[in-house]
Amino acid sequence: MTIDFIGVIVPLSILLPFFIAIYRWKHLPAGARYIFLYLLASAVINFTAVLIGRYLHKNNMPLVHILTAAEVVIFLFYYKTIFGHQNKLPAYLSMAVIFIILCIVNALFFQSIHTYSSYTRSAEAIICILFALNYFARLASDTGNSVKMVKQPDFYFNAGIFLYFSGAFMLFIFSNFIITTLSKTNFMIIWNIHGGLLVLMYILFSIGFIVCKK
């Protein structure tokens, strides 16, 4: 019996950081709680997508459009919190609103909600990679914390974000293209690799939740 990696293991792997976060909720700082919120949003939307796609046999792509906007908004608030930009709320709110507008414009005029939102998904990947790089740059300049870097939950969260979005970036760009050109086997190989990147991110998130100390 073979276990369906992309249909069972990958969606279920989100439960690992999810339950660790719930178990260690009291120890989670505000930043880690945003990561939990991201996991919650991903879990709800992905499970709904699986339900709609596999069991109702309907197009679940509109959910990807919603998830993309939701993820960016959550990540923006996460970075606002860990960068200590409490007084820059208007700037982050503006970025969130602009991105949501871009998602709506993209869905209305460029990429139908029934196709993969590769433009906004790629933009999301770029935003996340830039913020993660910014985090690493701050960490490198903050020599006071360098000793305990591996004990910082945000290091694991950002390593997860950085590795996942870097690896998946090309897939996001070419997703609509490969749907139409690749054989089902090759298409599944690519999405299995994407699944592997997701599992890696969830494992790093789990470690991040474990090392959380409020």
């Binding site: 690493f136 960490l139 490198a140 020599t143 360098s146 000793v147 870097m149 591996v150 390593a159 950085f162 590795l163 870097s166 690896g167 998946a168 970036f169 090309m170 897939l171 070419f174 293209f177 490969i178 050109t181 690749l182 054989s183 090759n186 190989i189 690519i190 690799i193 994407h194 990147l197």
Partner: protein, 261 residues
């Protein structure tokens, strides 16, 4: 125009793997770089700490040397001069019977000078060892009758096998602790015990005074800081468990030669 025959599957695969490897390498080298900085920083902090420790030891040693010199000068020069003065005065006043009031006065000055010189540098330490010198110190503290010091030495003469630096450090530590007890503790009794435990020499000091606020003492007490510095100088350490009444300190020195003498 030539037709493009590249396999899109392989291109996407390579692109995904390529960007992932780039990101993973970045994180790998970042961790290595940060770890190297952390190790360098730790080494620098250790070197600074060692340097300040050496400075402190040098200060304490030169302080002891200076004390020894002043003590010797007081004892040999001022003390001898006072004794001469006493003899001269005795010859001068021989002709005037009944005029002997100067005697207790000079005796008192001689005694004071002797006490000061002994406090500055205990002369018996090299000659008679730590045990006898401590007895002399306790006798001086007991004179006033304010405090009663009990000294239990299970090591006996083995205690005298300590090298001069260690003996002097322990002497100063006990002197400091006694001074603290008298100044702050309002204690009536002090018990000092010396014994061997797991191959180490142990000195416990206990009084029945009002105890010590450990947090405050660590921050502000120059006396206790001095005690800790001297302990570090002879590779010893102290433990201060919380006791129900008074003050308690256990000094552990790894001076094994003393126990096999």
């Amino acid at each position: 125009m030539q037709k493009v025959t590249d396999n899109i599957f392989l291109l996407v695969l390579f692109a995904m793997l390529g960007t992932f490897i780039l990101a993973a390498s970045f994180i790998f080298f970042f961790i290595r770089y940060q770890r190297r900085i952390a190790i360098q920083k730790e080494a620098m902090q250790k070197a600074e700490l060692d340097h300040s420790e050496k400075l402190l030891h040098a200060t304490l040693l030169s302080q002891e040397e200076e004390r020894k010199r002043i003590g010797r000068d007081l004892h040999d020069d001022v003390g001898a001069s006072l004794s001469n003065l006493k003899m001269v005065m005795a010859q001068v006043v021989e002709t005037v019977p009944g005029k002997t009031a100067y005697k207790p006065l000079i005796d008192n000055i001689i005694s004071t000078v002797r006490n000061i010189s002994h406090t500055l540098s205990p002369p018996g330490l090299a000659l008679f060892g730590l045990e006898n010198t401590l007895h002399e110190l306790f006798d001086n503290f007991n004179i006033g009758g304010i405090i009663k010091i009990n000294f239990e030495n299970e090591l006996g003469e083995k205690m005298d096998g300590l090298d001069e630096q260690a003996a002097l450090a322990l002497y100063r530590i006990i002197q400091e602790l006694l001074a603290n007890t008298i100044k702050h503790a309002e204690a009536r009794h002090v018990l000092i015990r010396c014994f061997a435990e797991a191959g180490n020499m142990i000195i416990t000091y206990q009084d029945d005074g009002k105890g010590l606020d450990q947090a405050a003492s660590k921050k502000h007490g120059m006396g206790m800081q001095n005690v800790e510095a001297r302990l570090r100088m002879i590779q010893a350490h102290s433990e201060m468990p919380v006791v129900s009444k008074g003050f308690f300190i256990k000094v552990v020195t790894a001076y094994k030669p003393v126990l096999t003498k």
